[in-house]
């Protein structure tokens, strides 16, 4: 399965070019919260995209007679780039859209929710009342690009878009589709900021993945998509792949509703199976784009899984969450784009803010941009609530 197009918008840039400049120069997108209307802005920081909805409406040229939530607008902005890159017309082959989101149109609904549910008001601007669920953004985005052969939305918390990518790949393999457009979109919301704040796992300072003194995550917002084509379809499209999706695995560890298992079983199974599927041995993995949220639980559990799988030879790894924040349903797709860029540019990203290793593990992530080592296989992890773990393996196209 080959990736022939990609698009991304996050706190470190609109589009692949801007994103790459930030990644190369260690420029984080985490900062003060200016767009989301929340009291938590006085206490917390986040990876907010500093583009207003009005500006996004202009950039995406959406229809004026329907309501496009920020989630939809970010999705369209990201997918626009991916579609241009792969130069595909969705109606010329079997094309599906597999989207992912955790809170759908909450970004816009939460601003006027109480007015909307009040029977005495008539407020329902352009059909906003129908935008709370996860499918609204998927359909708005699919309709914008005229994709209709297969439509799905996945919500498995923080592993959502990794699951969207592997579902799309499987739909192609089973012959249902020629092209799968896969990824996710999640706008920053007061709802999720308060949700994670109530779980007490937000660090009010820039997050420090895999650090002994880490203190929680920073949230972010993003949308990212990849275009998957089969080998057969490549001959029709003439596209040159950016990378190959060579392995994937979804594994639920059934341990706890929100916490990962202390022995990293789910993470281990997901990584191991993805590597096996690609026909590789663990020592052939060049770089791991870790889930690395910087929560106490995740980074310990993921680190233990790394040691269990790779022993003393843990490959170079880093978490890019300090760049973008944790973008929830979009994270898997954002990091699929980062992984593909890592392969294309032959670079590995810095794990920003790292000072000292977790005492239990003694593991050191990459702390500066790596440009002088070959990158052939990149493993990307996405682990979520509910025990949902997913790993994707991307390989250099040869």
């Amino acid at each position: 399965m080959f990736i022939t197009g990609m698009g991304v918008i996050s706190a470190i840039g609109s589009g692949v070019h801007e994103t790459l400049v930030s990644l190369r120069n260690n420029v984080s997108g985490i900062g003060s919260i200016e767009i989301v209307d929340t009291l938590l802005r006085s206490k917390l920081i986040a990876g907010e995209i500093k583009v207003t909805n009005n500006k996004l409406v202009e950039l995406t040229c959406v229809k004026k007679n329907a309501y496009y939530t920020r989630t939809s607008l970010l999705g369209i902005a990201a997918l626009q780039e991916a579609m241009q890159m792969s130069k595909l017309n969705p109606s010329l082959q079997k094309t599906g859209f597999i989207n992912a989101t955790t809170v759908g149109g909450m970004s816009d609904m939460e601003k006027c929710y109480f007015d909307l549910v009040d029977p005495t008001t008539k407020s329902n601007e352009n059909g906003l009342a129908d935008c709370l669920d996860c499918a609204d953004c998927t359909e708005k985005i699919a309709d914008h690009f005229n994709i209709k052969d297969w439509i799905a939305t996945i919500s498995t918390a923080c592993s959502s878009s990794a699951n969207a990518i592997l579902y799309g790949a499987r739909l192609i393999k089973s012959g249902q589709l020629d092209v799968a457009v896969c990824g996710g979109t999640d706008a920053l919301t007061r709802f999720t900021l308060n949700g994670f704040n109530s779980l007490k796992n937000i660090d009010p300072s820039p997050c420090m993945p895999f650090d002994g003194n880490r203190n929680g995550l920073n949230l972010g917002e993003a949308a990212a998509y990849v275009i998957l084509e089969s080998e057969e379809q490549l001959q029709r499209s003439g596209n040159t792949p950016i990378s190959e999706l060579s392995g994937y695995c979804n594994f639920n560890e059934a341990f706890h509703p929100t916490a990962p298992s202390p022995n990293g079983e789910g993470a281990l199974q997901a990584m191991q199976t993805a590597i096996q599927m690609a026909g590789l041995s663990p020592n052939e993995v060049s770089y791991i784009n870790a889930h690395g949220t910087a929560t106490l639980n995740n980074d310990l559990s993921e680190g233990i899984a790394l040691k269990r799988l790779f022993g003393e030879n843990v490959p170079l790894f880093s978490s890019t969450k300090p760049f973008t924040g944790h973008t929830l349903a979009a994270a898997g797709a954002v990091e699929a784009v980062f992984s593909s860029l890592s392969l294309r540019e032959q670079i590995m990203y810095a794990n920003l803010n790292f000072q000292s290793p977790e005492p239990e593990l003694g593991l050191y992530p990459v702390t500066s941009l790596q440009t002088d080592k070959p990158v052939t296989n990149v493993l990307s992890n996405s682990f979520g609530f509910g025990g949902n773990n997913a790993s994707l393996l991307f390989s250099k196209y040869v």
Binding site: L39, Q93, E110, C134, T153, Y167, Q176, E265, G386, G387
Partner: protein
């Protein structure tokens, strides 16, 4: 230029080896849970919201456990537990569910908490339970079921994508059995949101009179349905041989796709012994069901179900459950019959469901 020349219509040939259904469970407005069948007397609702007939949870959980669980989690867990019990399956190898709305109760509670407590110290329970995959995770936890686990949240395609995912897992030789389900609840606030979108009838109507209504809109419902699937035919009660989704299509394409769907399975309309149609009393969308209904001769039994469970994104789950029950017992419950057909045995049963005129799905089920 003729549009047909520039935009070829692709045949999505969703052919797959049949998968075997080993159990089916339903919890909805009717008491379908107690005896895993439709009751003799159908419950009549005077209002436009058909609420769950809730199971007795105390048989399954302690008071302490129940206190921590939200409504849809309790219903979902209990329905899934019974489906697994019926199939004598302790640890399903995959758990895939569909829910368009997840726990609305918790989403709303957390929205209220944020305002009521001024974004202060909030209880995270509502936030955790509002996540769409919360039920899936809890079922896995309850049954210690490691393995493939996913949740589809796409309105009228939620259950269908869950089934397709499992069907592919069988084809990939990844699993031998799976638990598939869908769940939905309705709340007062969500009813209001949908009301503003024109989903519901303005006048109160009895559910049993729904299908003779000539006005716009429908009535709301709730439902949770779980099914166990097996790769082989052992202990099967029915088999799923075909499934097709069609997005945002007009009546003509719905009709063509339906006929192609039958043809791909070498069926003529007369080979279909019963067809479930998603009539929901909405004058604006009934032309879709009419178009499918007209494909059939007096041979085929034409069945309806949304007057029993109400309308919701994953109401197709009710039809799937009822179709499986009909095939298993070779009896059609009288409350389902729209037009009685001459076909007296049930071999092939087809479901046509559309949700809000946008998501159309077709199922083919066969007797074992």
């Amino acid at each position: 230029m003729d549009l047909a020349e520039t935009t070829p219509v692709f045949y999505l040939v969703n052919m797959f080896n049949p998968v075997y259904i080993t159990s089916a469970r339903a919890t909805c407005a009717q008491d379908t849970f107690s005896n895993n069948d439709l009751p003799e007397n159908i419950k009549v609702f005077e209002q436009n919201v058909l609420k769950y007939h809730e199971p007795d949870y105390k048989q399954y959980f302690t008071i302490m456990q129940l206190r921590r669980m939200t409504r849809i989690i309790k219903i979902g867990l209990v329905t899934a537990i019974e489906a697994l019990k019926d199939a004598k399956l302790e640890q399903p190898q995959a758990i895939v569910t569909g829910s368009a709305k997840g726990s609305m109760t918790d989403t709303e509670k957390f929205l209220h908490d944020i305002v009521n407590f001024n974004e202060g110290t909030l209880n995270p329970t509502a936030f955790i339970q509002s996540t769409y995959n919360a039920l899936n995770g809890l079922i896995a936890l309850h049954h210690n079921a490691n393995g493939y686990n996913s949740t589809y949240v796409h309105r009228g395609f939620s259950l269908e994508n869950s089934l397709m995912d499992a069907i592919m897992l069988f084809k990939e030789n990844r699993i031998e059995n799976a638990l598939i389900g869908c769940f939905e609840e309705m709340t007062a606030e969500h009813y209001e949101l949908k009301k503003k979108m024109g989903y519901w009838k303005n006048e109160a109507i009895k559910n049993v009179d729904l299908l003779s209504s000539s006005t716009e809109g429908t009535i709301a419902g709730e439902g949770t349905f779980f099914f166990t699937l097996n790769e082989g035919p052992e202990n099967a009660i029915a088999k799923l041989s075909g499934l097709r989704m069609l997005y945002n299509a007009g009546e003509a394409l719905v009709k063509t796709t339906f006929n192609n769907f039958l043809a791909e399975h070498n069926l003529a309309p007369d080979d279909v012994d019963a067809v479930f149609l998603s009539y929901n009393g909405n004058s604006q969308t009934r032309h879709f069901e009419d178009a499918i209904s007209q494909q059939f001769s007096p041979t085929t039994n034409q069945l309806v179900f949304k007057h029993l469970c109400g309308e919701f994104d994953t109401a197709a789950g009710f039809a799937l459950w009822a179709a499986i029950k009909a095939l298993q017992h070779q009896i059609i419950h009288p409350s389902l019959i729209l037009k009685k057909g001459t076909s007296s045995t049930l071999k092939n049963v087809v479901i046509y469901n559309q949700y809000n005129g946008k998501e159309h799905s077709f199922y083919l089920l066969e007797r074992i």
